[in-house]
Amino acid sequence: MPAFDLTTTAILIVCLIGGVLGLCAFLTLSERKLSAWMQDRVGPNRVGPGGLLQPLADGGKFFLKEEVIPSHVDKIFYIMAPAVAVGTALLALAVVPFGQTFPAPDPVPVVAGAETSAVATFEQQQTEYRSNLNFVIAPGLDIGILYLFALGSLAVYGVILAGWSANNKYALIGSLRARAQIISYEIPLGLSVLGVFLIVGSLNPEKIIHWQTTAPGAFWLLVFQPLALLLFLVSQYAECNRLPFDLPEAEQELVGGYHTEYSALKLGLMLLSEYVHLVGGSLMLAVLFLGGWHLFGLENAFANPIASAAVKLLIICGKMFALVIFAQLVRWTIPRFRFDQLMNIAWKVMIPLALLNLLCVMFVLQLGLPLWTLTITSIVLFFGAGVVSVLSSGTVTNPKRKVVKLPPGIPAGVTYAS
């Protein structure tokens, strides 16, 4: 990992966290507005012009409300849970590129007898790399995405602590569901991007962008890994507890789910961490599959380095914003899954598909076939899954228990399942 400049990093951290928190505030507004429009309502329109100041009013309300800590909670964990939730969500942003990036230089091989020149080359490459402005808090981190997955798994502790410490059955059931869901969907999430790592040959997000923009015969990984993109997108919604996977906080069944007992700013932090997850995940998806700051040559339209950096920032943030809006559209389109359906989709459909996709990538790379064959294998796998589902007549994702009709003489309305 290259050395970093403390001032630049501090400025980047402040900008990114400020930007993300502000964006999350306005995403709540866009969520409410979009859902209102879809349901033929008006939505918030009283605070500020067109309701634009609604997030400020909401935030102010969270600050001013009474901070209730119920007497029956486990105080330490109860207070710790929102901090863990928000902390892990924000920490995950450290490796996510949000603007122009330059790939870190590869290690320099040392040949016997030419050690000094190798060191000189290394020093020169590092100086050159440091002179660029990377829009990542921790640039050149080679374990990049592994770190992200590690924090993603840690994020579930916020939910578990909240549900357990609240000493409330709704909260506990909500957190149990969240646990099962996040642990299940971690697997397809990880497996789906393994193919990307195999193709690119690096876990570093900057290098993945670099590969998509410059490698010969390469384009956005969306083209070569459409199935992986689909699996990643779905698992990401499950990880963020977004509809159609919002069972941990299903209002109709669980009051508020794991944050039932929270009030005021702690509740605000809980809700905020979900949005930060969504923003971070969307940025990651844009980086992994949609070419990061690349957009058909538009990113090179300006020779001025500052203008170019601004354009790249706008492109990648635009992609992220589009993905977030898409998540909000999906939210009001698909009804919530039942919990067994949720588990069946993860374990019986998505994990096998991700594994087969990974296998295809391995074969294609090993045999040296052109990359476009991966597009074909993805499509074949997708439709093949459909055919298998039809042949099994829905028993894969939606297994039914057989309903036996009653023998005469038993009161109607009672069914027996075999």
Binding site: D40, R41, V42, W332, V387, S389, G394, A412
Partner: protein, 189 residues
């Protein structure tokens, strides 16, 4: 009657075909509907304080006491509304009508006529009971006050409601404003 086995109708779920099993086409179909609503909204929301609702003429809101052609209170203090009222919110004190009114055939008139609007359940029995259509429920619905005393309406207040609604042209449907209703006419011979 208990349900018998023959009453039970068994409904089988429709079998999902290939495209439904693929999920994505169905999701896209759903997205078409939701996104369509964003661009072709059919908003029926009323912006209340700025945009007042148009209530039907037989809405039962605040009471009013009607006036006759001469501008006098039409009520004849017969106590029928107070008797009919299930909430006992009407309080009338009757008095002999003034000399001039007596010549028009009015024997009594209400000296005070008080309705406790907080007690009232807005059932409309008073206007059903009134033989001269003197009391009516208007379409005024935004009844507010700062104290309980303010919500006890006296005769002047109730008459002012009449002036207000007649001037605004929002008479309730039943009224024949300024004319006595059929119940006040002499019974057919």
């Amino acid at each position: 009657m208990p349900i018998t086995e023959s009453d039970v109708k068994w409904v089988d779920e429709p079998r999902l075909g290939f495209w439904e099993q693929l999920y994505i086409p169905s999701v896209l179909d759903g997205l078409k509907t939701t996104i369509g609503h964003i661009f072709r909204p059919d908003v029926k929301t009323e912006q209340y304080p700025e945009q007042e609702p148009k209530l039907p003429g037989n809405y039962r809101g605040v009471h009013r006491l009607n006036r006759d052609e001469a501008g006098r209170v039409k009520c004849v203090a017969c106590y029928m509304c107070a008797t009919a009222c299930p909430a006992h919110c009407i309080d009338i004190v009757a008095a002999p009508a003034p000399e001039q009114w007596q010549r028009d055939g009015r024997e009594k008139y209400p000296e005070t006529f008080v309705i406790d609007e907080l007690r009232c359940i807005y059932c409309g029995m008073c206007e059903e009971a009134c033989p001269v259509d003197a009391i009516e429920l208007t379409t005024l619905y935004d009844l507010t006050g700062l104290s309980r005393e303010q919500m006890v309406f006296d005769k002047e207040k109730l008459l002012s409601v009449f002036d207000l609604t007649t001037k605004a042209g929002t008479d309730p449907v039943r009224t024949q404003s300024g004319r006595l209703g059929p119940a006040s006419e002499a019974p057919p011979q």
